[in-house]
């Protein structure tokens, strides 16, 4: 058993007290490795709550820098961080909360050349990407590498999330098959989102990561949880693995990740 310091016992006491987490669960968190894809609206709360929970290694991958328009919802960043890489800004916030967490920053685009070698270093991946090609890339890489992940997406007042255990539960492609053609994704008016909606979805994703690492509870597998914050209604849609899924079906056509940029893929 890991030796906890007095400070660790204090810091993690509220987890240790939980029968479903306990000492063993907290140890698993401290031994856990989670990759957060995107340090934006979803990645911000995820990063902060994973750091607070004492997850051993948290990786963050994001190529962006902090923009003022991010600050309405991306609570890992501050006004002073404008112009700096989001991964650096998020890492700073995480370390301030919990210096024990090892934060690994990947300031780059996630693409076919790096995604598999990145996700395979982690126990769990949080998809907090803001675009469809990356969401499919993360799905395919996690499926091919056998790494469980949480899908998350937000738009305006709505959010949706599901957790995928590769080979065991429905994957993102079982449900959505392929990215929408880029011109079918309205870019401009759809950029709006209520700030707290990002928090609602990101914290659900963080909870799923903590549940996965500790083994507590029942994950959001084979279910798509969606909500509309305007009506404040939540809905759970049952899902199933699809035999004809191109990545996790019986005769998969996708056996390697490919870059699926908005132009090349849509042709």
């Amino acid at each position: 058993m890991r030796e906890f310091t007095e400070e660790q016992l204090e810091r993690y006491s509220r987890h240790i007290l939980l029968a479903e987490v306990g000492v063993e669960g907290q140890e698993r968190l401290m031994d856990g490795r989670v990759l957060v894809v995107g340090a934006g609206g979803l990645g911000s709360p995820v990063a902060l709550y994973l750091a607070a929970a004492g997850v051993g290694v948290v990786g963050i991958v994001d190529n962006d820098t902090v923009d003022r328009s991010n600050l309405q919802r991306q609570i890992a960043h501050t006004t002073a961080d404008i112009g700096q890489p989001k991964v650096e800004s998020a890492a700073r916030a995480m370390r301030a909360i919990n210096p024990e967490v090892q934060v690994t920053t990947h300031h780059c685009f996630l693409d076919a050349s790096n995604v598999r070698q990145l996700v395979r270093q982690y126990d769990f991946v949080i998809d907090g990407a803001d675009n469809f090609p990356t969401k499919f890339l993360v799905n395919d890489a996690c499926l091919l590498e056998g790494v469980p992940f949480s899908h998350g997406g937000i738009l305006r007042f709505t959010g949706q999330t599901m957790t995928v255990l590769p080979g065991k539960s429905a994957c993102y492609r079982c449900v959505f098959r392929e990215p929408p053609p880029p011109d079918a994704v309205p870019s401009c008016s759809q950029a709006g989102v209520l700030g707290a909606v990002a928090g609602m979805l990101g914290t659900i994703q963080a909870a799923e990561a903590l549940k996965f690492l500790t083994g507590a509870g029942e994950l959001l597998t084979n279910r798509l949880l969606s909500f509309d914050a305007l009506a404040m209604r939540f809905r759970s849609t049952p899902l199933q693995r699809q035999d004809n899924c191109p990545v996790c079906g019986k005769e998969p056509s996708i056996t390697e990740v490919t870059d699926c940029g908005p132009i090349l893929c849509a042709a």
Partner: protein, 260 residues
């Protein structure tokens, strides 16, 4: 509570056997667990030369199984008043443990365990038991039980049981101490004197995580919220409390068997 609330804060003379009608009830004896006795005795020792006082609780079988030390608002060597502010809380605590109020105890630090005239005059509740603990050395009966109805005192037979303590002793030769023999082999021990809720439970859980299923952990917990909270939480997680007894300083010693 109305009984206890009306206990007035007036001085009373030293106990005199002349005023006590000594009768034996002839009925079932009052049963007192060793823990409850130990609690009273330890409390009396802690407070001496001040009189110690508190409530007693009984379990579903009518056995007095717990003593709840309270503040003697008089802080006097020859009389006591239960602190009214504590009475609600203690009665609630008794109920919360699934117990019922059984009576009131107090100590006579320098006189025998017999009711004083004021003890009799001010005992308003005919249904409560009045237990008195004496610290006088060499007393044959260091604790005695009385029912007091309409100024008439009836002494009841009193049996101290060690039933809940496997390997425990039912001797009345003072409060059981931590070094008492126990059937359980202790694999690990932690002393949580001064560690409050909920960090004490955290440390118990950490200590339990460090032993094998079926092995035994000895824990010393403070009186009050710690002893009221921690054992029930430990049991809820499937571990067994093998022993539970109060130490002379008021703290409690538990032996916990880790769940299989």
């Amino acid at each position: 509570m109305h009984t206890a609330q009306t206990v007035p804060s007036i001085p009373r003379p030293a106990p005199s056997s002349a005023t006590v009608a000594q009768e034996n009830s002839g009925g079932d004896p009052v049963r007192l667990t060793q823990e409850a006795y130990a609690e009273m005795a330890a409390h009396a020792q802690r407070e001496a030369p001040i009189e110690a006082c508190g409530y007693l609780a009984k379990d579903a079988e009518g056995r007095i199984c717990a003593a709840f030390p309270m503040t003697n608002a008089d802080k006097a060597e020859d009389h006591y008043t239960l602190d009214p502010a504590e009475q609600f809380a203690v009665v609630k605590a008794i109920r919360s443990q699934g117990l019922r109020l059984a009576g009131v105890y107090h100590s006579h630090p320098a006189s025998p365990a017999r009711p004083s005239p004021e003890d009799i005059r001010l005992a308003h509740d005919p249904d409560l038991l009045y237990l008195i603990v004496t610290l006088l050395p060499g007393e044959e009966k260091p604790v005695r039980a009385f029912r007091i109805r309409k100024q008439t005192v009836t002494e009841l037979d009193l049996v101290v049981e060690g039933a809940s303590l496997p390997g425990g002793s039912s001797s009345m030769s003072g409060a059981p101490a931590q070094e008492d023999k126990t059937a359980a082999t202790i694999h690990r021990a932690i002393d949580l004197h001064g560690v409050g809720c909920p960090m004490n439970l955290v440390k118990v859980k950490v200590a339990l995580a460090a032993i094998e299923p079926g092995q035994h952990l000895e824990v010393v917990l403070d009186d009050g919220p710690p002893i009221r909270n921690v054992p029930q939480s430990v049991e809820k997680e499937g571990h067994a409390i093998l022993e539970r007894r109060q130490l002379p300083d008021g703290a409690w010693r538990l032996v916990i068997r880790k769940h299989q």
